[in-house]
Point group: C2
Chain length 131, copies 2
DNA sequence: GATACCGGTATCCTTTAGGATAGTAGTATC
DNA sequence: GATACTACTATCCTAAAGGATACCGGTATC
């Protein structure tokens, strides 16, 4: 949030805090945003999602998908093939989160670099002490 | 995330998912981002933060502040007045989250409107049925 | 006949987040 | 002398998130 769009009064500050709280209320948790990221590449089946989201268990995946569906972020379509095919797809409303996700993605990459540099610097410091 | 910055291969998809997971790992939870929002208006004292973040208990606030400090997002400065004054302040690294927070803020506002419209539409539908 | 894929459920369990309530030492205020 | 403010900590507790493991019916494949 830049200073330009956040007025500096107490009430305005609380309002900003609440806007962010509202947003977090819907997209909180470890998996929802990553799931929406995975679905950017197009509709996916259950198992495909499970493979993209390493370490997610089917139970959790299924629950999170239901949540996302309830909130209007994904649709679930069953095709009557044998065996059945179930396709999950982002809705237009999920696309309204594009910028949020994109910024989070970019920041995540920068953060990873930041962490790497920190531990490198730390290693240097230890070496210096050792000498 | 726009299609322009996310390549559509399986590996690239997993990488994007992981970038977002990395980001969420640090800023997850109900309070961290709202706290950083509150601190945009300038350094704040403990009680000021508590007032901005309605309903947060001192225990949780204190724990979240420690987390943010450990991750390098805020600094804690004690002034030796009587009684002591403790000031929390965003670091430069917290500012690197500006865009993420700003987008989340904007989306939160739009989402609130969206929800309102939905419930209005629902009310209309109920009326129509009742007639 | 054994194994594997699909789209999940069922059951049980641990961990964490978060909340409720109370209290503390020191100062200032009424 | 009672109350209020600051910046917390301590204790206890609940609810939710998340994970481990196993399993299901159906199909296809080897």
């Amino acid at each position: 949030m830049d200073h330009k769009n956040i007025p500096h009064s107490k009430e305005a500050c609380k309002a900003s805090v609440n806007a962010v709280r509202d947003a977090l209320y819907v997209v909180n948790g470890k998996w929802k945003l990553p799931m929406l990221v995975s679905l950017i590449n197009g509709p996916k089946r259950f198992k495909e999602l499970q493979r993209d989201l390493e370490d997610i268990t089917p139970k959790v995946l299924s629950k999170e998908l239901r949540d996302l569906e309830l909130n209007g972020f994904v649709t679930r379509t069953v095709y009557d093939t044998t065996p059945v095919t179930v396709i999950y797809e982002r809705t237009d409303y999920a696309n309204s989160l594009s910028k949020v996700i994109s910024e989070l993605h970019d920041w995540g990459m920068k953060h990873r670099e930041h962490i790497k540099q920190m531990s490198r610097a730390e290693a240097e410091a230890r070496k210096a002490v050792a000498v």
